[in-house]
């Protein structure tokens, strides 16, 4: 009886492997025979945007209205109108740091406007527009903390909290190799963990941290920026026509003043933040 169970189990494992391998292959094929996103968008008059819902100033769920608000959201809507005319529809699809690239790759969304930093690694996976926002990584700590800059993190026993799937994680490993990094699914979880004492500092881009610090007394952004993080609008790899159209729209919005208006709407009077630098 026992040998029978064993044999069945081995067979089972082999089958799982076979099924999953073939599934991989077929998904690989689906990606290569992809459709032209721009053509599809133009026809349906709709762009599905992957956006954040946990990032103050960029993309945040407003509890009162149950609507998403922020710079990314407004810019996504503006680009949609610019590309598709007045009756163009922007559908907002909420993503997290962890899910944003996968939902773009697998075709759930047409484009990502979700504080995605343009990096060489990601460029292998997706196609980016021109940068629409220049951020830099910084640190958020309790105001009475001894940590003043990235140098203070490079010690044993220091724990930094960051968000899964962001460039912040790799940068901390690079600039403060001795620090331990704990990763969470979104900025809310991440800040809550910092507050619960699960780490001594939280690290991500300055604009995002400034938004958190503005809402939470007793926390400050320290040490300035130690990286350069240009945000780009991401489309699936090879959708160059769509990316060019987005670049064109972005350029027009900068020329007609809409971009500047949105910048001031969201980032005026945020401490430790320079609009000039971000819009560069």
């Amino acid at each position: 009886m026992k040998s029978k169970i064993k044999r069945f189990f081995l067979l089972a494992l082999a089958l799982v492997l076979a099924v999953s391998l073939s599934a991989c292959e077929s998904s690989g094929q689906a990606a290569s025979s992809q459709v032209n996103t721009w053509k599809q968008v133009e026809k349906s008059k709709t762009i599905i945007w992957g956006v954040r819902n946990d990032t103050r100033l960029f993309g945040l769920m407003d509890i009162k209205s149950a609507k998403l608000v922020g710079f990314d959201i407004d810019l996504a809507k503006a680009i949609t109108k610019q590309l598709l005319g007045k009756d163009g529809k922007a559908v907002l699809f909420q993503t997290s740091s962890k899910t944003k690239i996968p939902v773009l790759k697998n075709g759930n969304v047409d484009a990502l406007m979700a504080t995605v930093t343009i990096t060489p690694d990601r460029k292998k996976q997706v196609t980016f527009s021109d940068p629409y926002f220049n951020a830099g990584q910084s640190l958020l700590v309790k105001s009475d903390s001894k940590i003043k800059s990235i140098k203070d993190l490079n010690k044993n026993g220091i724990t930094v909290v960051a968000v899964k799937g962001t460039t912040a994680v790799a940068n901390i490993h690079k600039f403060a190799p001795k620090a331990r990094v704990l990763e969470f699914d979104d900025y809310g979880q991440c800040f809550t963990a910092l507050k619960a004492g699960q780490g001594q500092a939280m690290s991500t881009d300055n604009g995002i941290l400034a938004g958190i610090a503005a809402e939470n007394k007793g926390y400050s952004v320290v040490g300035g920026t130690f990286t350069h993080e240009p945000y780009g609008i991401a489309v699936d790899k090879g959708q160059t026509e769509f990316a060019q159209k987005i670049n064109q729209a972005l350029k027009e919005l900068k020329q007609n003043g809409t971009y500047n208006k949105l910048m001031h709407k969201w980032f005026d009077g945020i401490p430790g933040f320079s609009i000039k630098e971000a819009a560069r």
Partner: protein
Amino acid sequence: MWELFINNWQTFLIGFANTVFSSILALIGSLVIGSGFAILETVPNKFWRIVAKIYIEIFRNIPLLVIAMIFYLVVPQFLFKVNGFTAGTIGLTLYTSAFIAETVRSGINAVGDGQMEGARSNGMTYWQAMRYVILPQAFRIVIPPLGNQFVNLIKNSSVLAFVAGFDLMYQGDIVASNTFETIPTYIIIGIFYLILTMPLSYYMQHLENK
């Protein structure tokens, strides 16, 4: 996919080890606590029966994820510092103990009152009768359902990923977000879980059929 595994095998293995470790700790903990409450639920004293009932109902009717989050985020602000692994394992232990209590209690009930009365009339105290007569039989009856609870426990240990517990799921998330190979990574993770759960659940089925 093989390449993905070879390039990241250490990351996967750390996760696998933590999942196994957490599951074993939670199994031992929840067996002890669960059996304790099961006995409490069958004692003659009504007060203790109600205490046991409240404990069991609370942990059976609140999602494990919520329990784990409370241990991770709320408890450190009042009581003591816990890391994700510990918070997740404590949550897993308490949650599973409620189910184990129900299972063991049904075993004790199945043994029947006659046995208890018989043992008592032979001069045993209540606790002696429980310890030497009732519990051994009860556990023999509930081994298959307990085994299924253990399978559930292993699967449920994946909530450690929500509290940065470095388990299989958490490590898998990290590989997925670094390599962008989402589906293949989760397939590898799935195979790891099956290695743990499949033999156990087939063995339990085999015991049940006997």
